[in-house]
Symmetry: none
Subunit: 124 residues, 4 copies
């Protein structure tokens, strides 16, 4: 369920976090659903269990998942998680677009990109 890019600059534990969050945001992971075990995911991905631990710990710290000793890790029950993640993503996008204005990007270009994006989507 997780696809790692070992050579990427993005740390592995971050990649795990991002993908778990994306799956929560899009509904692929639902409330109280159990996540793969630390050891099993580590084996699946061919990485160190500590790395998975680190990802889960951060997800738990931020309230997206909860862990029960001896049972495993589960998606948190907070209704708003998907919405919250959605909103955070929008903020991220806004910031990223704002930072690219100094490069001379025009409104028309951005609108064209957005249109193209969803045209591709529809045809898929």
């Amino acid at each position: 369920m997780i696809a790692l890019n070992q050579t990427s600059r993005t740390p592995i534990y971050q990649q795990i976090i991002q993908q778990v969050l994306a799956q929560i945001a899009c509904g692929l992971l639902r409330q109280n659903q159990q996540l793969p075990g630390v050891r099993s995911m580590a084996i699946d991905l061919g990485i160190n269990p500590n790395t998975v631990m680190k990802a889960y710990a951060e997800l738990e710290r931020d309230g997206y998942i909860y862990s029960i000793a001896g049972k495993g890790s589960f998606v948190a029950e907070t209704e708003q998680s998907p919405n919250l993640l959605h909103r955070k993503k929008l903020d991220e996008i806004k910031e990223s677009l704002a930072s690219s204005l100094p490069y001379g990007v025009t409104k028309e270009e951005l609108l064209a990109i957005v249109e193209a994006l969803y045209r591709e989507e529809e045809s898929v």
Copy 2:
């Protein structure tokens, strides 16, 4: 001419690179124009000359500037730099937007962000 964010996790030398590129892209820095010296920029920004050197070295390796020991560093002569940078930025944006679709971002939301962005711009 360069504004650093010391708290950001983006390395300082990368921030310098990005801002120099932005200034080339938007025409603020022109062909063959001399850049601030390694030492003088370091003093201005309150950082170590090596850090500026690292930024300049990478900009030179990528062909955006050229350095002549004993004379200084200058914006490269490639006519296309601004256009190329502009296009690269658009590709970056496209990729970044595509990667946020799994979060359930809608077309309307993106269009709204773009509109808002340029409304702010105009009023400035």
Copy 3:
């Protein structure tokens, strides 16, 4: 595995680059093989880790090796590296010879040098 010439005016980090490339070109270093760590090589060569880092960083920028923070540096997977390096070297030689023609170097002299070179080789 690396032999430095401390008195040469060729920078140390360049010497490292050249020798790593030569070892890739001749097959001594193979795909995905791990390179010595930045620190261990620095100690072996009696130089500063930063100098090794500089060499590795440039090798990575040029696609010959890849580094994963926390794991190490490895020879890149590009099949063609050896051939490409080989061809580049030939181009270099051709250019260097062409530039020495103005000195009145004759074909016979060059042929003699080449013959001598491989006669020595064989006897080794």
Copy 4:
């Protein structure tokens, strides 16, 4: 008579030295022939007179030229200059070729390069 490459990594004063030597080696500059004045060459090349001075000083130190205060600089009378330069160049070539053997360059490839070089020459 001198063609500079301002952006080259080779220092300007070295470029001057190399080109003067090449011209002595190939007979373009003859014994006791007067070299361009320091100032006039500096103006021609658009560089600092000190840089030309440095080149001439090194040429004089190595015995290739001599200077007479108030008159100018002249090609030295040593008969052997051209031969000596010729021999030095051959040594350089030998060394450079030797250093490229680790890249897996074969005798056949070198012979082919030499042949090609003089075939082009002839046709010119």
